[in-house]
Subunit: 359 residues, 4 copies
Amino acid sequence: MPNNTFGHLFRVTTFGESHGVGLGVTIDGCPAGLDIDIAFIQQEMARRRPGQSKIVTQRKEADQVEILSGIFEGKSTGTPIGMIIRNKDAKSKDYSHIKDSFRPSHADFTFFSKYGHRDYRGGGRSSARETAARVAAGAVAKTLLKHFGVTVTAYVSQVGHMALDSPYGEYDYREIENNPVRCPDPAMAEKMETLIKQVRKDGDTIGGVVACVVKGCPPGLGEPVFDKLHADLAKATISINACKGFEYGSGFDGVTMRGSEHNDSFYEEEGRIRTRSNHSGGIQGGISNGEDIYFRAAFKPVATIVPEQDSVDKQGQPVKVAGKGRHDPCVVPRAVPIVEAMAALVIADHLLRSRSSKL
Amino acid sequence: MPNNTFGHLFRVTTFGESHGVGLGVTIDGCPAGLDIDIAFIQQEMARRRPGQSKIVTQRKEADQVEILSGIFEGKSTGTPIGMIIRNKDAKSKDYSHIKDSFRPSHADFTFFSKYGHRDYRGGGRSSARETAARVAAGAVAKTLLKHFGVTVTAYVSQVGHMALDSPYGEYDYREIENNPVRCPDPAMAEKMETLIKQVRKDGDTIGGVVACVVKGCPPGLGEPVFDKLHADLAKATISINACKGFEYGSGFDGVTMRGSEHNDSFYEEEGRIRTRSNHSGGIQGGISNGEDIYFRAAFKPVATIVPEQDSVDKQGQPVKVAGKGRHDPCVVPRAVPIVEAMAALVIADHLLRSRSSKL
Amino acid sequence: MPNNTFGHLFRVTTFGESHGVGLGVTIDGCPAGLDIDIAFIQQEMARRRPGQSKIVTQRKEADQVEILSGIFEGKSTGTPIGMIIRNKDAKSKDYSHIKDSFRPSHADFTFFSKYGHRDYRGGGRSSARETAARVAAGAVAKTLLKHFGVTVTAYVSQVGHMALDSPYGEYDYREIENNPVRCPDPAMAEKMETLIKQVRKDGDTIGGVVACVVKGCPPGLGEPVFDKLHADLAKATISINACKGFEYGSGFDGVTMRGSEHNDSFYEEEGRIRTRSNHSGGIQGGISNGEDIYFRAAFKPVATIVPEQDSVDKQGQPVKVAGKGRHDPCVVPRAVPIVEAMAALVIADHLLRSRSSKL
Amino acid sequence: MPNNTFGHLFRVTTFGESHGVGLGVTIDGCPAGLDIDIAFIQQEMARRRPGQSKIVTQRKEADQVEILSGIFEGKSTGTPIGMIIRNKDAKSKDYSHIKDSFRPSHADFTFFSKYGHRDYRGGGRSSARETAARVAAGAVAKTLLKHFGVTVTAYVSQVGHMALDSPYGEYDYREIENNPVRCPDPAMAEKMETLIKQVRKDGDTIGGVVACVVKGCPPGLGEPVFDKLHADLAKATISINACKGFEYGSGFDGVTMRGSEHNDSFYEEEGRIRTRSNHSGGIQGGISNGEDIYFRAAFKPVATIVPEQDSVDKQGQPVKVAGKGRHDPCVVPRAVPIVEAMAALVIADHLLRSRSSKL
């Protein structure tokens, strides 16, 4: 059943495979009259693209976005914005060994179970390369949000056991893009980078955590029952390849707290109703309260590793599968712009959705 | 914008307020010919209903379900199944103090921001009483799943700092309903119960974790991009009141693992392709692989506490708000059937969705 | 698959059967703060209810609407408005003869083909009684439209061969409710009434046409590709039981015209851009242009007739089926409020949808 | 709000403008394993493309389809099928005169009202060129239907006052593609062609009717309430540019019939339940009954004409607008494949939807 569409009023549909012609995306519902800066879209693509540093996959893709529709004289027209990103550096023969076999903890077996017929080259549609389309769309969502004063910033807060331990508000976000790990603490960034390099040298991979902060979100975004703002953020984020967990505000740590500690008292400041603490993570009853929205996402270690692993083929016969194909030793540095993109898509959608809550 | 509907092919719409006439739900898309056991629905309601034990809210509701449509001669007809549960024990005057003020960490302020006009009695639609409708619908989803050999079982794995530490597979699930906490380990259950009683005595509340296991799910459920099976489970679960975090399989712990430890090797067993470990939590690339699906959900402490708290009124003037109205000292015992219901809705939906993946 | 929901931002879900407990409806997405007049809803129900005159079915239903949710202190809260209408005068034993047989041109056979198991009493969910729920929802949509200065008026323009022949703008709509046929021309109304009585006396039925006019609709409603305003009106209208055709503006007659006659010239009047003629029916490129929207809907003769007819049973064996059960000799008098309701639902939905077309 | 998507389980999203880079479409939900014949898609495009004969617009477009995704080794993979058709012969300067003015009975004014900012070149997204994307998608839908034995055939049954008068079943459909009008009666086709040439010579345009027949559709397709099969066909068809009316089965003519004439008696034939007449047009209660589905669609005369017409500019000042830009003197010959495409999309969608009606 269709599942390649995300969002209701700001609605994104992606298509394309890792080793096919390319990736594509349509954005349906972007309001007319928005100034679209192609250079900014390309800049976001550069943050996600492979080959950007030594700690990510060495596949070389410029990830040049071609705009097909929906923009006229530099502004959105309200009609769908179509974009494609052609694949240039697919090395499909690296994947012939998995034509009939299943890589452990990849989607090979489940795609085979579900569809029978699959494009196995580079994982086909299950490849994280699909997220290139999300980032392109996310750049447009960010542009819309910027128009309304909302910003979305993510960063790496943990790689393996190395974790930042200060609250999200204490970091200087301008440091994030100054290191290949995308960690706002330069000293920690260096340690993380060293760890990732070691892991790669071992032919292995490692997990990590991405934290994300949305600033400037007005109160009233999010819907109170199933489409709670955090529920849509959770779905958006955990739908990113390799993501295994999501928490917002106090998250799993909130479990051990008492209500009297956890509750966020209200006060008034310059005509605005605010909270003194923010265990709510900017969302109460599924609706934004005007404070910072923050959440964290856990990413598992990439499944592609160099050593041979036990597996089976289509007939269930034992085979050995070794990790050919280029891959990331740790996804989180490149996951940062993807998490931002997904968060921006959610907030943009709810921004438009909120327009019909009152007369 | 509408947000009271969940699911695509097995689609549930809920309505109703905590202190209004009652709660209601329609299930649209239940296939025709399913034997519906009203007693079973009622039994599920009993697991969620207030007043069921000393460690939950003392509001007295029988939560009797009235079937309005969609069932004929004991079987579903394929037309929408409508159900209502009338409120009997609403004490609305307990809430007059919050008509114009906002309880900390409740949805009072955000509803006011979003809608302007709100039913403040018992939190109105933001009350967890809305989940009664989810449980009624979930009972029908469970019935459908049972027809296909799928079961859904949740339990409490943590209250405050007291946490179970064995893997989910090592507990005897028959113990779950033998104690009011719904913890499968009787000794731990007792300690948790004592803790909850203490917290209640303090006029305070405490958080907890619910774990959930889906057994018998065939491979091929879930869609590979945005509607990954775990993404829909995440959204479903975290949309439950007070839920702050979701993780599946290795979850946040998987972050510290290496790919070589984390990967689940395939092998063949009696004609079925299986995995030796299950860090994937039964889902790979967003699609079920036939192993147990398991996930965990974090719940914060309930916001209603007895002591006075600082807050503001609509005009932003400082007020003191004290917790009147009956409430749970800890939500997780009653969250267990709600988590199961939401998981059942997701799996039922994807079971039907999977019917169109092949010719 | 679910299909009991209509609309996107003003979204209606109906449920219930002709001879079950009753009919129900939820409206999800009605903006908060709208004054809801229950008496007006009831008045709309009275226009559709059976037994209202001698030329309609004699089933006696008060069609009393019970509000379940979504309205507080007389105003909508933005949460779903739930309503039920209980069946009081179902005579189900009239239908035992069709338990295993199929009435010609009814939905008995197709429901059996589709679902296997069906509630045959009074046609179950296929009965036009389902439209009671649409009218209740439509009354709320009309209330919303009235707030924005939009009105929806339908009338009978043809019964059998008796057809009005003046343009829609030349009738006095205040006459519509002055006769049981709901025809704005009193002389024609009398002739139509006589014809319907004759047809009923013959144990037969007859078709008719309902015309509908929407006044005060602002320019910019409707979406330009698939959800053109007229496309949604067409679907909404033709989804009413017994409706076989839909046309708007010049409709089928426009086929014989030349572009030079058909085009509607623009001019300016009091700061508003208007058209001199209105062959476009108020909609151009799928979007309202601010002129009157008008359309016509064809209704076939009701399938239930008194004489015995040839049919088959489940096994394909020949049977005779005679029309038991009360029924209308001509649907159009009661279709008038239903057509209005469906048009109001469409316009209300697009009114909210149009809020996101611009920044 | 998004509206460029059609269908639920077989879901099509189109994008692109008449004078932009090109048109595009994604098909999400095509089951895996379907043999896709690119030559057949191209052949369908050829039936719709401009410049195909002397009675259609002389814009020269090869309408070459580029497949971007979703097909591997000649078969669908279950992932979205992306296709683009680049514009080659746009002559945008023909449209500079309407940059600030509104062509009568075009979408210029309504787009301006709705969006403020619009791509006026060739009508931008409001151009019927958008239907190229529909035809490409429709070709895939037809391929799926063919796999299940269902065929869709449309033809021109009327141009201006010249109308076929025999029932749809009496024509030899092999004649349809033998003349540029696409009328199955060669003698009538010639008269229609002469008429269209005369109209074009006059610098004028003329309307017409397209009839469509679906054969081989199994019983049980269509959903009984809002998504009746004919309701979705109505919406699909009337969403085509210039379409003003839709009727199925007896349609508007059924209005004058009595129930006793109109009802279709059931009988059994070779184990199949059939009807003796087919006033129902193959659909009863919104669900297919296994007989031929047939419907008719009315198309108005094209709005672009050569003579100068009265209009206004953005400021409401009077202007004269003359028809520059190439255009069709009569849309119906090229509408034939578009109507087929839309019907195929509806039937394909309902074919998949019907898979969840039973256990």
